[in-house]
C-alpha cells in the first residue's frame, strides 16, 4: 500500500522522526511546556513527589491510554471516531482471562481475535456501507458489550484468571524501574509516528481525512484503506485491554469503560482535528501523558472522584476551544 513520494517531499520529511521534529512541530512543543507546567505544579503542591519512581509510574499508567489513543488517532485522522474501543478492550481482556487454560499464546490470541472481529465489522460498516463512524462504532460497542455479558454468564464454573506474564506486562517494572508496558508502547509509538509520516498508508490516511472525495477521484481505494485502518484501531484497543487487565489483575465487565472519553480527549489535546486530515501521534502521546499527570495531580490533592471528573471535563473543553481558535 505504499506510494512512491516525490523526492522533494522525501527530503523535507527525512528528519521528521525524533527530538528535532518534536521541537519543530509547534503543537507538540507547546504541549510539552504545558506538561512541564503540570509536573511543576505537582512538585509545588507536594515537594519531593517528582522522582524517578513517579516518572516510571506515570508512564506505566499512561501506556494503556497511549495505546488506545493510537487507535483513536488513526481513525480520527480519517475524520472518523471509534466509540467501541473501550468495549473491545474489555472484551479482549476478558476473553484472554477466560482462555488461560489453553496456554498463554492461545489466550492472548483469543483476546486479539476480538479486536480483529470488531475492527473488520466497523471497517465494513464505515467503509463499504458508509455508515457514520460514530453510530457504527456505538452500535458495535453495544453489541460487543452485550455478547460479553452473555458469554460471561455461561462461564460461571471457570472464572477469569489473569496470567502472570500479563500482570507483569500491565504492572511490572524491569531493567531498573522501567515499566514493562513501555516495551509494548514504545514500538507502537515508533511505528505510529514513522508510519503516519513516511509510509504511503499513513499519507493516505491524511489524504482521506482531508478530502475523501478527491481521494476517490484520484483512484485511491478508499474503502480498503478505511477497512484496514479500523481493523488496526481495534487491534490496538485489544492490546490496550491486555495491558489494562494486567494492571488491575481482575477482569470485569466495565474494565476499560473509564478509558473511552480519555482516549478521545488525549487525541484532541494532542492537536488532531476531529474533522480529520490534521494532527499526528506525537501529540496524542503528549495528550495521554498530560491526562495521566493531571489524574495523579488530582489524586494527590485528594479530590473526590466526581470533582475530578468535572475538572477533567472542563480542562478538555478549554483546550479544545483554544485549539479550534488557534488552528482555524
Amino acid at each position: 500500500m505504499s506510494t512512491p513520494a516525490g523526492s522533494a517531499d522525501r527530503r523535507r520529511l527525512r528528519p521528521a522522526i525524533g527530538l528535532a521534529a518534536l521541537v519543530r512541530n509547534r503543537t507538540v512543543a507547546a504541549l510539552s511546556l504545558l506538561l512541564l507546567a503540570f509536573v511543576l505544579g505537582i512538585e509545588l503542591a507536594r515537594p519531593g513527589t517528582v522522582n524517578a519512581v513517579w516518572v516510571s509510574n506515570t508512564i506505566l499508567f499512561a501506556a494503556p491510554l497511549g495505546i488506545l489513543a493510537a487507535g483513536q488517532t488513526l481513525v480520527m485522522l480519517t475524520g472518523g471516531i471509534d466509540l467501541s474501543l473501550a468495549s473491545v478492550a474489555t472484551a479482549s481482556a476478558y476473553l484472554m482471562a477466560t482462555h488461560t487454560s489453553h496456554g498463554g499464546v492461545a489466550a492472548v490470541l483469543a483476546g486479539l481475535a476480538v479486536g480483529l472481529a470488531v475492527g473488520v465489522v466497523n471497517g465494513l460498516g464505515v467503509a463499504v456501507l458508509r455508515v457514520q463512524p460514530l453510530v457504527m462504532t456505538l452500535g458495535t460497542g453495544l453489541m460487543t458489550q452485550g455478547v460479553l455479558i452473555v458469554y460471561s454468564q455461561k462461564l460461571l464454573a471457570t472464572g477469569p484468571h489473569v496470567p502472570a506474564f500479563i500482570v507483569a506486562l500491565g504492572s511490572g517494572k524491569g531493567l531498573d524501574s522501567i515499566p514493562i508496558d513501555l516495551f509494548l508502547w514504545a514500538p507502537i509509538a515508533a511505528l505510529m509516528v514513522f508510519g503516519l509520516r513516511r509510509t504511503g498508508f499513513g499519507r493516505l490516511l491524511y489524504a482521506i481525512g482531508d478530502n475523501s472525495e478527491a481521494c476517490l477521484l484520484a483512484g485511491i481505494r478508499v474503502w480498503q484503506v478505511l477497512l484496514v485502518n479500523y481493523t488496526i484501531c481495534s487491534l490496538l484497543a485489544a492490546m490496550a485491554g491486555l495491558v489494562i487487565v494486567g494492571g488491575t489483575n481482575a477482569a470485569d465487565m466495565s474494565l476499560a469503560d473509564v478509558y473511552l472519553l480519555p482516549s478521545v480527549a488525549a487525541v484532541i489535546i494532542g492537536g488532531t482535528s476531529i474533522f480529520g486530515g490534521r494532527g499526528g501521534y506525537a501529540g496524542s502521546i503528549m495528550g495521554a501523558l498530560m491526562l495521566t499527570v493531571l489524574n495523579s495531580l488530582l489524586t494527590l490533592l485528594d479530590a473526590p472522584e466526581p470533582f475530578k471528573q468535572i475538572l477533567y471535563g472542563a480542562i478538555i473543553l478549554v483546550l479544545a476551544a483554544v485549539y479550534t481558535r488557534l488552528t482555524e
Binding site: G139, T140, G146, P304, I310, L317
Partner: protein
C-alpha cells in the same frame, strides 16, 4: 460530516424539482410516518403472542419503562434535526433525576411541582450552556457534548453519591399511576402531553422551520439570512428541556435518584432517534418516530424475559438493530448514488 449533509440536501433539491420526485418524497414521508407505528404494532403483537396474559399491568409497565428513554430520544432528535449531536443527554437526565430525588424527599406535593418547574428551567439552562459553547467556541458538537456530559455526570454524583432520595407519592403517581382507565397510564399521558406541549408550538412555527433549515444545509441557511447560532442554540435548549423532563420521569417511575443512570440513556436515546428515522446528517425526521422507537427498544428485553432468554441479549439486539438500520440507510444511499 459536512460533506454528506450537503450532498443529501442537493439530492433533495434535485428530487424535489421533478414530479416523480414529489411522489417519491411523499412515499418517503408516508413510510416514515407509518413505518415506526407498524414496527411497534408488530412488536406488540409478538409480545402478546409470546405472553398471552398481556394485560393492563404490562401495558403500564411498558409505558413506565419507556418514559425516560422516550424523552432521551426526543432530546437527541431535536438536536440531530438541527445538525448537531448531544452526547450529554444521559448525564442531564441523571442530574435532573438526582436533583428531584434529593430536593423532593421531604417536600409536599405542591412544593414538588414548584421544584419540578425549577428543574425544568435548570435543564433548559444546561442545554443553553451546551448550545452557547458549540456556537461560540466552534468546537465540534461531539467534543463539546461528550465533555459537558462528563462534567454533568460528575455533578450528578456530587448531588447524590449513591442511589437514594425520593419524592411524595402524589408526585410519583404523575408518572407511575393511572387516573383515567387501567390501559391508559399516566406515563403515556405525560409523554404525549409533554412532547406535544414542547414540540408542537416549535414545529408549527418559524423556529421549527429554522431548525430543519439549519440542519439540512447550514451554508444555504446562512445565505438565506437565518441566524444559525440562534437556531442551533434553540435546539440545544429544547434538548436540555426534554432531558430534564426525562429525568423527572425517571424519578417518577423509579421513585429514587440514581446518579449513574446517565450513560444508558445517552446511547439508547441516540439509538432510538436513529431507528426512529432521524438523520444523523441533520434536517430530517421528527419526534414521533424516535418516541415509538423508544417503546420498541423497551419491549425487546421484556419479550426476552417472557421467552426465558437471557435479557442481556437485549443489548446485543439493540446494538444489532442500530447497526442494521443505519447500514440499510447507508446501502440505500449508495445504491441511489450509483443509479
Amino acid at each position: 460530516m459536512k460533506g454528506p449533509a450537503r450532498k443529501d440536501s442537493l439530492a433533495v433539491a434535485r428530487v424535489a424539482s421533478s414530479e416523480i420526485g414529489l411522489a417519491r418524497r411523499f412515499v418517503a414521508r408516508y413510510l416514515s410516518l407509518v413505518g415506526m407505528p407498524a414496527l411497534l404494532v408488530v412488536f406488540l403483537a409478538l409480545t402478546v403472542a409470546i405472553h398471552p396474559q398481556f394485560a393492563a399491568f404490562d401495558a403500564q409497565s411498558l409505558a413506565m419503562g419507556a418514559l425516560p428513554l422516550a424523552f432521551a430520544a426526543a432530546a437527541q432528535s431535536v438536536v440531530l434535526i438541527s445538525g448537531g449531536i448531544d452526547l450529554s443527554v444521559g448525564s442531564l437526565i441523571a442530574v435532573a433525576n438526582v436533583l428531584a430525588a434529593r430536593s423532593m424527599e421531604n417536600a409536599t406535593f405542591g412544593q414538588s411541582l414548584g421544584l419540578a418547574a425549577l428543574i425544568l428551567l435548570a435543564g433548559a439552562t444546561a442545554g443553553a450552556a451546551n448550545g452557547l459553547l458549540v456556537v461560540i467556541t466552534r468546537v465540534p458538537d461531539v467534543v463539546i457534548t461528550l465533555t459537558t456530559g462528563f462534567i454533568w455526570g460528575g455533578v450528578a454524583l456530587l448531588i447524590l453519591e449513591k442511589p437514594g432520595g425520593g419524592a411524595p407519592d402524589q408526585f410519583l403517581d404523575l408518572g407511575a399511576g393511572t387516573s383515567l382507565t387501567e390501559w391508559l397510564s399516566n406515563a403515556l399521558i405525560l409523554l404525549v402531553g409533554a412532547v406535544a406541549v414542547i414540540w408542537i408550538p416549535v414545529r408549527a412555527t418559524r423556529p421549527g422551520l429554522l431548525l430543519y433549515a439549519v440542519g439540512s444545509d447550514r451554508t444555504a441557511a446562512f445565505r438565506s439570512g437565518i441566524r444559525i447560532g440562534q437556531a442551533r442554540l434553540l435546539a440545544y435548549v429544547l434538548g436540555g428541556l426534554f432531558s430534564a423532563v426525562g429525568g423527572l420521569g425517571l424519578t417518577m417511575t423509579t421513585g429514587i435518584g440514581s446518579p449513574l443512570a446517565g450513560v444508558y440513556y445517552t446511547l439508547s436515546g441516540l439509538a432510538a432517534a436513529v431507528i426512529g428515522g432521524v438523520s444523523l446528517a441533520g434536517g430530517r425526521g421528527g419526534l414521533v418516530g424516535p418516541v415509538i422507537a423508544a417503546y420498541v427498544l423497551t419491549l425487546i428485553p421484556a419479550d426476552l424475559i417472557f421467552l426465558n432468554i437471557d435479557p442481556n441479549f437485549g443489548q446485543v439486539i439493540q446494538g444489532t438493530l442500530i447497526v442494521l438500520v443505519v447500514m440499510l440507510g447507508g446501502l440505500l444511499t449508495v445504491l441511489r448514488s450509483r443509479r
